[in-house]
């Protein structure tokens, strides 16, 4: 076995040093009746070349953006990934290290996390960011718990337009914590119904959670929501599933958000069938001590040299145990590093330009599709790089026809909602050329005619 270096002679010598006769003797504390007593039933071991062949065959059964023209989004996005990122994260000093518990030999990870925290603060317009969470949905759930801690209130309002999987994760996390969750409906523009919000808010409300852009791709009027929510003494939690949008949209912080969470997969990570990506989590300075997750801070060493350490650990599970702000331990460090690299490469101009391209291409597609007979835009509100189209006739059949043409036209909303059987969430990014969009339009025209 090439990963295990022991020769039989090594084993013999080591057993002699230990003072036992056999490997078996080392397991003497495991009672006989608990022994497996047979070989596990697993596939026969493969050589490296057999393994690669078998996995390639398996992977070949999956449709990807290489073989298909894909307009799938809805929380996982196909953006261009510069070659630099994979080269740099393949440095095994980064990926084979553990959580930076020994700062003197982990300064690479620690400085990178500090930079990541800074980039997230700049992008979201917040004061502090943690080192990362599992993903956007679990970060959203943690934000709800933090809002409840910070306000000592138990009622949380969730926008009906929030990503349904984010809502479900919130429900799971809150399941046994005596929280009261309710949904605020959206209007014909796809934005939160502000009258319903005003009616739903009271002095028990900890927070409103709203997507930005929301699950329909619609950009909410965050500033006015913040005013309403704050008037009730509640916090505004903003969930950002597509953070490329923040290159162009007013930052949630500038709009008055108190906690900003989101999914960072768009920043240099492949979609990878839904994970790993990275959850980001940012908040205001005054609430830093009730934040979940790891934080890296700047300090100095014995010789006065700048360095970085994990800090404010008294919030965390290994110190506070059951009183901790969260049970999170390992997070998505490597993915946060990828996000850091991506944002550095793009920089101030690039994040703007890529966001503008996403908007322009999506608007081009939106206009062309909405002009087709039998196709209509579901919501009138402004959108970023996704939008919902309603299609007359049998959407399922249309999608299957398009699949045969190697086109994945979008995510059918029927997957999530019974009340939108003919609606399709279509995502257009900088990866789509004009001719790709024209092709989708032509096929939809043929399919719906």
């Amino acid at each position: 076995m090439r990963y295990i270096p022991h020769t039989e002679e090594d084993v013999r010598q080591m057993l002699a040093t230990i003072g036992v006769d056999s490997i078996e003797d080392l397991f003497e504390e495991v009672p006989d009746d608990l022994r497996l007593g047979r070989e596990m039933e697993l596939p026969e071991p493969l050589s490296e070349s057999e393994l690669v062949r078998q996995l390639q065959e398996l992977a070949g059964q999956n449709a990807t953006s290489s073989g298909y023209l894909s307009f799938l989004g809805g929380g996982a996005y196909n953006h261009f990934i510069p070659a630099v990122i994979d080269q740099l994260i393949s440095r095994s000093e980064f990926y084979t290290a553990y959580t930076p518990y020994q700062p003197e030999i982990s300064q690479g990870t620690l400085q990178a996390v500090f930079e990541y925290q800074t980039l997230i603060c700049q992008l979201t317009g917040m004061d502090v960011s943690n080192a990362s969470m599992y993903d956007g949905a679990s970060a959203c759930a943690e934000a709800v718990l933090m809002a409840a801690r910070a306000t000592r209130r138990k009622k949380v309002l969730l926008a009906g337009s929030l990503h349904p999987e984010y809502r479900e994760a919130v429900e799971t996390y809150c399941r046994y914590l005596e929280m009261e969750l309710s949904q605020i409906p959206f209007g014909a523009d796809g934005r939160l119904d502000e009258k319903a919000l005003a009616a739903g808010l009271d002095d028990k409300t900890a927070a409103l959670v709203v997507g930005y852009p929301n699950f329909f791709g619609v950009v909410e009027g965050l500033t006015s929501l913040a005013v309403t929510v704050h008037a009730a003494g509640a916090l505004l939690v903003t969930a950002v599933p597509e953070p490329i949008a923040l290159g162009l949209l007013k930052s949630p912080g500038e709009c008055g958000a108190d906690i900003v969470v989101g999914e960072g997969q768009s920043f240099g990570m492949p979609v990878s069938f839904g994970g790993p990506g990275v959850g980001f989590f940012a908040a205001r300075q005054k609430t830093v001590r009730s934040m979940p997750g790891r934080l890296v801070g700047r300090t100095t060493d014995r010789e006065g040299k700048d360095g970085f350490v994990l800090t404010l650990a008294t919030r965390e599970q290994h110190i506070r145990r059951e009183k901790a702000t969260s049970n999170i331990c390992s997070n998505q460090g490597m993915c946060a590093l990828m996000a850091n690299m991506y944002l550095c490469l793009l920089g101030k101009k690039g994040i703007r330009e890529v966001a503008e391209q996403n908007l322009a291409k999506a608007e081009y597609a939106k206009k062309a599709l909405a002009a087709l007979p039998g196709v209509a835009l579901a919501f009138s509100g402004p959108t970023f790089n996704e939008f919902v189209m309603t299609v007359d006739g049998d959407l399922g059949r249309l999608l299957q026809e398009l699949e045969r043409q190697k086109v994945l036209a979008g995510v059918p909303m029927s997957r999530f909602r019974d009340d939108m059987p003919n609606s399709l969430l279509i995502c257009v990014t900088e990866q789509h050329r004009r001719q790709d969009i024209d092709r989708l339009v032509d096929l939809m025209k043929g399919g719906t005619a």
Binding site: S66, E93, F94, Y95, A97, T299, A324, L408, V411, R433
Partner: protein, 487 residues
């Protein structure tokens, strides 16, 4: 030869300090559609503070940062309870295959059969390795798996109409265990191990009552000892109407030897980034699948991967499910790596891994026991815990850890488990050779000598690193968590 030495180190600024207006590190295609604008009031100014750097700046920056890190590929990394085994390179390649890396989670199921098949087979393999009836792959890390498992336990009780309020947790547990129990609305009742090192059936019986929902154990426990009363303990908890949760962080001691599911345990999480060789990434991503008995299967998180004839499907309709813990289906890229590892090792290889991990821990124990205090005498499994009690020269565990860095080794886990004062928790894993273990043990013994003769070498350690011991107190009192442009 001692691996630690001094050499040229390169300093590196924060990326923000490299910024120069006009530099860029990206390229985008020419915009081939008309530009579009958003309604007024929605648009921000440029992101203030974002760097403007060239591609070369970025490459040098991160290359230099990486050189300040110590990884498993740099050398021996005996971090107890973390199972820092070698991360096979072919697994990295596997996760990057186009069909895995670039398959969107909402791809129609008929067009993502390869991904679903892999998940289904991995579930089955983990079930076989652990002796559970079903496995969910959704949790993103060990603590996330604990949350899934404890939620299922609570849901099981609630379905029976029992609102039990307490969870028993031995003081040898990971810190995540009590935090997780609290997240599920339970009160935590600590069980003191009273120096015994293992939990006895009698102790559990004393604590068991009608209000106990579950016992959370780790087996082998955090002292590296097998809980040999485990079967009896599970029986007692079951007779009292409770369930047993096992933290699977230490499964690397038991593969092919004994299975938690056969011991009476009801729920256990795996750490794919420990036992199944996936890299820890400097703090994740990991994956924390959870195995359960048939009785708990209806409560698994959704969606569940199932097989219907020749087709693999995602099942969303589980009326008693605890729900979803995150978006999509879990950290799929990590599952690919773990599956590649299992396919490479096979049943005999995994058993051999556990045997060699246990051999290595016992070898280190035998070599260091004459000099370092060993608080518990039971046979060690995959890790061994010493204390700093016998160290001379006012030297403590932290000093040994820092001095090990000068010798070129990553320190063990220190001051954990809490039940051992000044704990030095060493987990060597099976991928280390006898030569490496000897180098490490020689260093540990030399350090104990230094503590007697020149304790300043320990107190001043590490001396060879670019950065010396850091001021953590100021970092916590006046937190600086974000770079700000100079006024």
């Amino acid at each position: 030869m001692r691996p630690g030495t001094s050499g040229l180190q390169l300093n590196e600024k924060l990326i923000f300090d490299h910024s120069d207006p006009g530099r860029k590190g990206y390229s985008l295609p020419r915009l081939d559609v008309p530009a579009a604008v958003l309604p007024e009031g929605l648009v921000r100014a440029e992101v203030e503070g974002f760097p403007e750097v060239s591609e070369v700046d970025v490459v040098r920056h991160f290359t230099r940062l990486s050189s300040w890190n110590y990884g498993v590929d740099s050398g021996f990394y005996p971090l107890g309870s973390c199972t820092m085994k070698y991360n096979p390179k072919v697994n990295e390649k596997a996760a990057r295959i186009d069909g895995f890396a670039n398959c969107h989670p909402y791809t129609p199921q008929s067009l993502s059969q390869g991904a679903l098949a892999l998940m289904y087979d991995l579930q089955a393999a983990l079930a076989e390795i652990s002796g559970f009836s079903a496995v969910t792959l959704q949790p993103a890390a060990g603590a996330h798996g604990e949350l899934a498992g404890m939620l299922m336990i609570r849901a099981w009780h609630e379905a029976k109409g029992n609102r039990r309020t307490k969870v028993l947790i031995p003081d040898t547990a990971h810190g995540t265990n009590p935090a997780t129990a609290a997240l599920c609305g339970y009160d935590v009742v600590p069980i003191e191990s009273k120096g015994a090192g293992v939990l006895t059936a009698e102790t559990v019986a004393e604590f068991m009552d009608d209000d106990v929902a579950a016992l959370m154990v780790t087996n082998p426990n955090t002292l590296g000892l097998f809980e040999s009363d485990i079967k009896k303990i599970c029986d007692i908890v079951h007779e009292g109407g409770g369930l047993v949760y096992c933290d699977g962080a230490n499964l690397n001691a038991l593969m092919g030897i004994a299975r938690p599911g056969d011991m009476g345990i009801d729920v256990m999480h795996f750490n794919l980034h420990k036992t199944f060789s996936t890299p820890h990434g400097g703090g994740g991503p990991g994956a924390g699948p959870v195995g359960v008995t048939a009785e708990l299967e209806p409560f698994m998180p959704t969606p569940v991967i199932a097989r219907e004839g020749d087709a693999y499907t995602l099942q969303f309709d589980l009326p008693q499910s605890v729900g979803r813990l995150r978006s999509f289906y879990g950290n799929f890229g990590i599952m690919v790596r773990a599956w590649a590892y299992i396919l490479t090792m096979g049943a005999a290889g995994l058993k051999r891994a556990s045997e060699m991990a246990v051999l290595n821990a016992n070898y280190i124990r035998a070599r260091l026991e004459p000099v370092y205090d060993l608080p518990h005498r039971h046979r060690s499994l995959h890790e061994v815990v010493f204390s700093d009690k016998d160290l001379a020269g006012d030297c403590h565990t932290l000093d040994v850890a820092k001095r090990l860095i000068d010798y070129g080794f990553h320190p063990p886990t220190i001051y954990f488990p809490l039940v051992v004062k000044g704990a030095i928790m060493i987990e060597p894993t099976e991928t280390e050779s006898m030569e490496i273990l000897d180098e490490f043990c020689d260093a540990m013994l030399a350090i104990a000598e230094e503590a007697k003769n020149s304790p300043e070498l320990l107190h001043e350690a590490p001396r060879l690193t670019r950065i010396k011991r850091l001021d953590e107190t100021t970092a916590a009192r006046q937190p600086c968590l974000c770079w700000l442009p100079e006024e």
